[in-house]
Amino acid sequence: MHLANPYYFLLLIFIVAFILFYFFRKKYTKQIIPSNLLWEEVLKEMRATSWFHKWQNNLLFWLQLLCLLLLMFALVGPYFSKETMKGKQIILLFDTSASMAANGKDFNRLEDSKNEAVKMLQGIQQNQTVTVLEVNDRPKIILHDESDRNKISRAIKDIELSYTHEDWQSATELTASLAKEGKSAIHIFSDGLEEEKMNNLDSFYVEVHNQEQDQEENLSILSFGVSKNDNKVAGIAMVENQTDSLQKVPLLVESEKIVLFQQEVELQPQEKKIVAINDLPEKSYYNAKIDVDDDYLVDNRQTAVFNKQATTMYTDKEMNPFLIKGFEAIGLRVIQMENKEEFLNKKDSIFLLSGSTLPKNMEAPFVFFFVDGKKAEVQTAVEASEDELLLHVDMKDVFIASAMNQTIEGVKPIVKGGDLPLIQKGMVHNQPAILIHFDLKDSDWPLHPSFPIFLYNMYQWLSSQSNYIGDFQPLESRTIHLTNQAADWDIYNESDQLVGSFSMEGEGFQAPKLPGVYQLTNDSDLMYFSVNLDDREKMIASQKSFILNEDQLKENEITKTQSDWLWYLLCMLAFLILCIEWEVYRRANRV
């Protein structure tokens, strides 16, 4: 047997008090007096005349009657009609995408949804269970089949914006798997959810609460990017006026709290405009902002992190001029150095080297050609594996006469001739390296059209291995390559607050939630990355609320349970009357 309300055992206090009451009845101090004769007469007289006594029998009667009546009323179970919720299993879905951060009725739309849900749930009864799901790019179950009202409201209040873009497809699939036909009522709290997206929930009762507002004004930066051309950094921003009136928008670009560019942009209703920003000084990152107080503030800014792609390639004097020409053709500036050791310490460049043995240490990514040394004949045809370097590169008809056979640690062959590694790729001396085990003179590859494509791929791969982590969406997970192999990194936001940490040994890197620019740092290195909204979240969605499949829900056969406080009140009153009754009885016995 189980106890539904074990807390009522606390009423034992009253019972104990009642017992004590009886034991510790009025203590009479004994006093011996000469004679009680007169006292007895006095009391007799009192008894004879006391109105209280005349009354007292009647009083007990009335009090007991009142007590019984109150108990009866309490048991009858009066309650005020409250709005009850339909459905045995109630499933709530909360849209936590960035657009729910727009202004709602009281607060932002997500808060409004949460309040509405909590208010709806006040009518919940004992046998209804609640499941709560959060909808963002990966739907999450927060609560499943919970009846405890406190737990439910706490869980709902703890839901926060995730700033991602909502994935309704997988959310509705998950919901459909959790729901029971005929018994579940699904309530979705969103802003711009349309009926078409609800295909998975055809057999369920769905009520969509779209946070619809009368006035929705939004201006947004749709995109913003910077690039470097001939030592000059230029940027482009696209701004949209989503309102129905003419707007003058101040656009500014700043970095590290210094305003680099400012312009007032005039926009017609529903107009998109591209603003060109020239002559930006070179900084690590740029923030573009439109300084307006509209209903949706999150899309008023966009961050671009400047990608310092290597633009210079250093090589030695003996390098094959064909290669030099090839790299110059794709836009690199190739500098030939006199002294090998001199330029080996340069950063932010890539190196093109050749020789018989690898250099002892490198500070930058490099390509190495093995030219001298023992050569072995390539017997079989060239095999190429799947690799990003070999994108669009067809090695089928390439002939390679001979290659150097050297096993190097940390690299893997991507092109092989039999057992002979021809091209290897990996990390050497903690730097990205591509090792080519044959001399170009021994091959006819340069005559193939795939050769320059390979050069370009090499350049892209090597330069992307520099310290540019890139641009993320909120909460996006991606593996990142860091040249600095140190294990622990800290993530700071623009206000220099620590928002997280990242470990190379742990799970993959997950970007923070709030859009903005962040620093990834450990003791020696500092890198910037940006978190920007998904393009689909750059406007306020707005739809009316609707209900689908109303007939799907079978009516609940629940007996109406009592309203809590009313019968409490009646019981307390009955108890009070009982106490009065005891007091009367006690007095009666005494006098």
Binding site: K26, K27, Y28, T29, K30, Q31, I32, I33, P34, S35, N36, L37, L38, W39, E40, E41, V42, L43, E45, M46, R590, V591
Partner: protein, 286 residues
């Protein structure tokens, strides 16, 4: 031990006042209206043959030439009974009990000092005696003050019936009167038929007149042990006082009905005041 010297000294000059047509024939110091053999001059009577010729006043004969007899007042004694209520109700309050004993002792002293016959009984105990002679007065006084015998019966009125012996001219009852009036009436009836003057001195304690305690008390009767639970608040006290006065008044009326002299005293007074003032005022002592 209290010092009674002053009291005794003062009491020497007092005597109990009895309006007597009583029958005592023994010699005492009381002046009887029978012209008798005392030394006090009463009046002259003409000589009739047969009178005692020794009583002829020759001075008057010389002046009037008629023989007159000088008549002297007869010294007679009376007998006094003092009944002291010695039930538990009297003994409960020490002040009251002491005063009762002192009162009884003082009256006994006065009696003996005046050469009257004394019968004393501490009713409801086995202590009683008969005595005469002023030589015993002091001893008797202290004896009565020091009485300490155990109470055997709890009803004064009922024990009184047993304590009565030969009728005396004066009966003094010292009690607190806290018994049903019907019982008193019975006792009075029993006393009445004898040709005696009866005095009832009702001695009450201040604690009985104005109960000093308050709150919730369980009152235990010292005589029969019965218990009454009372919450003493002013209203109940007022009711009680009224009841007490009512009772006392009824007792007084009852006494009057039976020709019994009544005096009410409280233990807040001391014995000297009682003897010399209160009782003198009431007419018992002169």
């Amino acid at each position: 031990m209290k010092d009674y010297h002053q009291l005794l000294a003062r009491m020497n000059r007092r005597s109990l006042q009895v309006s007597t047509k009583g029958a005592g024939m023994q010699n005492g110091r009381r002046k009887s209206h029978i012209h008798g053999t005392s030394l006090d001059f009463a009046d002259y009577k003409i000589y009739h043959p047969g009178d005692d010729i020794r009583q002829i006043d020759w001075n008057v004969y010389g002046r009037t030439n008629k023989p007159y007899i000088k008549r002297f007042q007869d010294e007679k004694e009376i007998s006094v009974s003092i009944f002291l209520d010695a039930t538990s109700s009297m003994k409960q309050v020490l002040v009251k009990w002491e005063l009762a004993r002192e009162l009884a002792a003082s009256l006994a002293y006065i009696t003996l000092s005046h050469e009257d016959r004394l019968s004393f009984a501490a009713v409801s105990t086995d202590f009683s005696f008969h005595r005469k002679g002023s030589v015993h007065n002091k001893r008797t006084f202290y004896e009565i003050v020091g009485v300490r015998n155990d109470t055997q019966d709890e009803s004064f009125t009922q024990s009184l019936a047993n304590a009565l012996t030969a009728p005396t001219q004066l009966v003094i009852l010292i009690t607190d009167g806290l018994e049903p009036l019907t019982l008193f009436e019975e006792s009075f009836k029993r006393l009445k038929y004898r040709n005696q003057q009866i005095w009832l001195i009702q001695l009450l304690s201040e604690t009985e007149i104005n109960p000093p305690f308050s709150g919730d008390i369980q009152l235990v009767d010292s005589e029969n042990g019965k218990m009454v639970d009372v919450s003493l608040n002013p209203s109940i006290k007022t009711l009680y006082k009224n009841r007490l006065d009512h009772h006392n008044d009824n007792l007084e009326i009852l006494c009057a009905t039976y020709g019994i002299r009544y005096c009410r005293i409280s233990d807040k007074l001391d014995i000297q005041t009682i003897i010399l003032r209160e009782l003198a005022f009431a007419g018992l002592i002169q």
